[in-house]
């Protein structure tokens, strides 16, 4: 070994992730990225291969962060549903203003990449499926612990959660609706329990 990389890969990916999340893949130029991560093109390209490579790593990192966040709320809550409720409130209300977008980066990705054969479209599908599987695990636990009836299967609860959560985040991606967030989130969890 003769020389070490100067940048911390984790930080670079996190900063890039924020920019991509905010502006989307196509509207983010490599020069935007260079400035944001304070690296010259050569370094970026030797580390990530391409703009697409960096986006790819950014999106993967994003989903890891999300799961870590959920785990945090779950470990501080008495119930699975309580943890998820706190997580949703945190995303939709508390961290809305310091977030690049109210809309989930994965949902944005799913919306942006139209061509069925593109790498990034496939990636967004994979990560989305993984997230649904993760949610399904959580709802399996919730059913087993008796928090939920088993009139719906775990995966059906997971699907319902995703539809509600995505719908809510889309709705609150606009100004002057903050006061409706709390009641609508409460309504969402009331519905889940009553399903």
């Amino acid at each position: 070994m003769t020389n070490k990389v100067k940048f911390e890969r984790e930080n670079v990916v996190r900063v890039a992730s924020q920019l991509f999340w905010q502006k989307g893949f196509h509207a983010t130029s490599t020069r935007d990225l260079q400035e944001a991560v304070n690296m010259r093109p050569g370094s970026i390209y030797s580390a990530f291969g391409s703009k697409e490579g960096l986006y790819c790593e950014s999106l993967k990192d994003y989903t890891v962060q999300i799961k870590t966040q959920i785990e945090g709320f779950l470990s501080n809550a008495d119930t699975i549903l309580g943890g998820l409720h706190a997580f949703v409130e945190n995303v939709v209300i508390k961290t809305k203003d310091c977030s690049p977008s109210a809309i989930c980066m994965l949902v944005k990705a799913n919306s942006e990449f139209a061509e069925k054969d593109s790498n990034l479209y496939e990636l967004s599908l994979d990560l989305t499926a993984q997230f649904e599987a993760y949610l399904t695990q959580l709802f399996t636990q919730a059913i087993n612990k008796g928090e939920l009836s088993n009139t719906l299967t775990a995966v059906e609860y997971a699907r319902f959660f995703q539809v509600q959560f995505t719908g809510l985040r889309g709705y609150f991606n606009r100004p002057n609706v903050e006061q409706f967030a709390e009641p609508m989130i409460n309504q969402m969890f009331m519905l889940i329990k009553k399903l």
Copy 2:
């Protein structure tokens, strides 16, 4: 008068709208548009001023089309809710494969334009607010006709509808989930009636 325009403005806007809806604003190049609408740059720019101008007109036209579609389903249904149910089924199930995207163009616009001060961001907010107002009218009628209880106000029903509808369309913007569409739509309308 000495010469007339050769193209039909309505058709051009409709074709452009399909392309913008599929690929998004940033990923659609003016050359893509030129080919799709079969016009040379000079003609496009004299008619619409800019790429942004054409997008603007396309998005406005899209919302008009949506409202027209809903009116059609309403006039063929016995109840407001029945009409909306048929409309949602048509969008999510029947016309999914011939549509540029499962996701509403307006929702895509809202997701794509991040800068709070851009014209297109403002436009998407305006049109979204207009659509919520339109839905509120419909739910007012539904309440007055006794189709719905008045435990929720009309605008609250409208918000609920938008969250569900947007969430569902996002969810079904992926392959191999078609079989879940019908039950989830039924669930959505069951929930509305029980709220």
